[in-house]
């Protein structure tokens, strides 16, 4: 594998996160690393972006082959700043986002800032990969993810025509030797059920603590990313920006038939 690539990295746990340090190590394996990551943790920020407002950027690491900036904004802002400003005329070979502290499988992918950034990068026609470990601990051990991801990324870099393809890759929190392989999967149909516990009240405004429980509602388990992860596989799901529900198009056309110029 050539080591003359330029890799853009980001995450949603912030530039100080242990998972981001692991990402710097991983990306350095493939070439020059440029990172723009949130100043503060931005978990759950989905594809949020800053519109007509200010962002604050500071260079945090300035070495020969590794340059890292912090940005006071969302993960998508980090990609926009990198692609539209910092690296505007530079060729980027690959975008890596993570390594995330916690799962981005199932419905988590829609709330994830890490995957929001990876998707945003794919709009620029670059292959992008989000990497996540099923361990939310600040001190999680990312060495298995780093070691295994090197193999996966080499395969991706050797493949043509992946412009704009975005990979959502999740790792079970098990030892390298225990991983059974990878499984290309689909996003598990799932949701978070939340509970709201009232804590206090002031001037009629009630403060609630929010807690969440994951619900798996997938009718076809064996194809799903949750199944892969629960059975010792690394799950890989290609994801996309297009939210159009093509399966519903005909049904929706028929509702409005009388006044629709249908062309789908």
């Amino acid at each position: 594998m050539k080591k003359d690539l330029t890799i853009l990295i980001t995450n949603d746990d912030g530039y100080r996160a242990k998972g981001f340090q692991a990402m710097i190590e991983l990306a350095s394996h493939f070439g020059k690393v440029i990172g723009v990551a949130p100043k503060q943790a931005q978990s759950g920020k989905s594809q949020a972006l800053t519109i007509c407002d200010k962002v604050y950027v500071k260079k945090q690491i300035d070495q020969d082959e590794i340059t890292i900036y912090s940005l006071d904004g969302t993960p998508v802002d980090c990609i926009k700043f990198a692609m539209d400003h910092l690296l505007e005329n530079q060729k980027i070979d690959l975008v890596l986002s993570g390594i995330n502290h916690g799962s981005n499988a199932g419905v988590n992918v829609v709330y994830s800032g890490t995957m929001g950034a990876a998707l945003e990068a794919s709009l620029y026609g670059i292959p992008s990969i989000g990497l996540s470990l099923l361990n939310i601990d600040d001190n999680a051990d990312f060495q298995t993810v780093v070691r295994y991801s090197k193999m996966l990324i080499e395969k991706i870099l050797l493949t043509d025509n992946l412009e704009g393809v975005c990979f959502n890759i999740n790792f079970p929190d098990i030892k390298f030797e225990q991983i059974k392989g990878v499984r290309v999967s689909q996003q598990t149909k799932s949701m978070w059920k939340e509970s709201f516990t009232p804590l206090s009240e002031q001037d009629g405004e009630i403060c609630y603590m929010v807690q969440c429980t994951f619900q798996n509602m997938e009718p076809d388990q064996s194809k799903s990313d949750e199944w892969a992860l629960n059975n010792g596989y690394v799950s890989i799901v290609p994801i996309q920006m297009d939210k159009t529900s093509y399966k519903d198009l005909q049904k929706v056309c028929s509702i409005f038939e009388s006044e629709t110029t249908i062309n789908v």
Copy 2:
């Protein structure tokens, strides 16, 4: 049309927004209205949600058929609070989100808090509709949207098997008589190009002002929501939570063939 329905409403511009007042008027046409909307503007918040943290809720309107709460959190939080706590054992017939000040066509749908809330509601198996007007002005006139939406919502309410279908409906900013009809469309392939203008610097941290320009990259214009809106139609796009890129599954399977248990 029966008027004994229960309608849950929210938005991303905040409960004080003019578009939300128009939504209360629209929803009241169909029955009892319960609203949970952000305390502050939450535009661009996408599907961000609050995890294991606090939210603050206050009743703002308490009338016979209209109850409105403000919630200090994201649009998705508003739906979670309404569905998992406030209305846990109540039947909700329809969820309406908006009326948004500004377009949620094209790539805007992925950043939109209004559409994030509508999508979240669809997870609960309820038909949900996001309504947006192509006018970002605080004082935009929503009367055409209200009048036209009544007809569209009546059609949707008369249709069976729409559990979990989410409609992204955008209105051009033109007079009622000028609307040519509705056009069921697909999300326009598009992106925002951002510019970052440095304003000031402190301790090595640079403050940039962010500005955005919309780029339409759709190869098949006539099927797209942007085309519909630019040509005097109301655009309707069914959207979904599943981000899996099914068109890329086979390609991705082939990359990892040697170590994949493929089952897609």
